[in-house]
């Protein structure tokens, strides 16, 4: 069913599974290796991988040819639409989830960034204009 795939690098796959499942409603599709899991929500498939050594069979998180290791973090992120951003943020904050910023109102949506246990950003947004909704154009 998933049509879109995003790969996030995490330090601890089990902790990441718990975060995305318990706080954001993802379902675990498979977790065949300690360094690899596949979760889904709606049409999004989230592939969680921990960095592995060069000889590891899992190819997605091996070091680069120059030896550079893949790490969590950065600013690029997937986004989840919520119907009530204040309520969602309050609930997540009460659950101890780390916020990178406060709710900001942009042109098309109110948005806020949370972090998974490895420090990867996830953006939550509530559209304030109809064209920002996840319906295509």
């Amino acid at each position: 069913m998933s049509t879109v795939s995003v790969r996030y690098i995490v330090d601890d796959v089990d902790a990441a599974i718990a975060f995305y499942r318990d706080h954001l409603g993802f379902n675990e599709l498979m977790h065949p290796d300690p360094a690899f899991a596949m979760l889904t929500v709606g049409d999004l498939r989230l592939v969680l991988v921990a960095p592995v050594p060069a000889g590891h069979p899992g190819g997605g998180s091996r070091p680069m040819p120059d030896g550079t290791r893949q790490r969590p973090g950065g600013w690029n992120r997937f986004m989840l639409e919520v119907p009530d951003l204040e309520a969602a943020a309050a609930k997540l904050r009460a659950a101890g989830v780390v916020f990178r910023n406060e709710i900001v109102t942009g042109i098309g949506a109110k948005q806020v960034m949370i972090e998974d246990p490895s420090g990867n950003p996830v953006e939550l947004f509530e559209p304030i204009r109809p064209e920002a909704r996840l319906q295509g154009a």
Partner: protein, 181 residues
């Protein structure tokens, strides 16, 4: 035969891709909104009542260059451009938002002064049918390849960079490998 006098007024017909996955997603959302809960994901997850058409935001240095890369090299379609800081592209079911670092909006500095910027290792994954040929064609076109094609458990994969240094992962399922869902 005389030409139709209205021919001069006719506009060229531009083919429009109906984006069937978007249409299907929209129908599911309508069904969910009208109480006909066809999509369990739409209403089940609290606090995030999640919807279809996954969205990813990438930070870029230059909007026009990024749009040219994603549309010209990777088959994205331009949906909305709000220069100088923002664009919305589509490819299949994926909505890709491009935000320019330092520009008001998503690219604005955070309260602690940090500025969202391109880079990192998290990435979108695009499936292709001939990964070796695709990577070679991209390389020939001047696209930077960070990791060449290598075989994993179920897929072959490669990492390319957009003009800002953001990663895009290309995958091709291994022979005999089929999605279970």
């Amino acid at each position: 035969m005389t030409a139709d006098p209205l021919d001069a007024l006719r506009l060229p017909v531009v083919p429009v891709d109906p984006r069937p996955r978007f249409a299907a997603g929209l129908l599911r959302q309508i069904a969910a909104a009208t109480g006909d809960s066809a999509d369990p994901a739409a209403g089940g997850a609290d606090p995030a009542a999640l919807r279809d058409n996954p969205t990813v935001r990438y930070f870029v240095r230059d909007l026009a260059t990024a749009i040219a890369f994603y549309c010209g090299r990777l088959g994205f379609e331009e949906e909305l451009v709000a220069a100088p800081g923002f664009a919305m592209l589509y490819r299949g079911g994926l909505r890709l938002l491009l935000s320019v670092s330092g520009v008001p909006g998503a690219g604005a500095p955070l309260p602690d002064g940090s500025v969202p910027r391109a880079g990192g290792w998290n990435r979108i994954t695009l499936q292709v049918t001939d990964i070796v040929g695709t990577v070679e064609a991209l390389r020939a076109a001047g696209v930077r390849v960070r990791a060449d094609v290598s075989a994993g458990v179920a897929v072959s994969q490669a990492l390319i960079e957009d003009p800002s240094g953001n990663l895009v992962e290309l995958i091709e399922p291994a022979a005999g490998y089929r999605e279970r869902t």
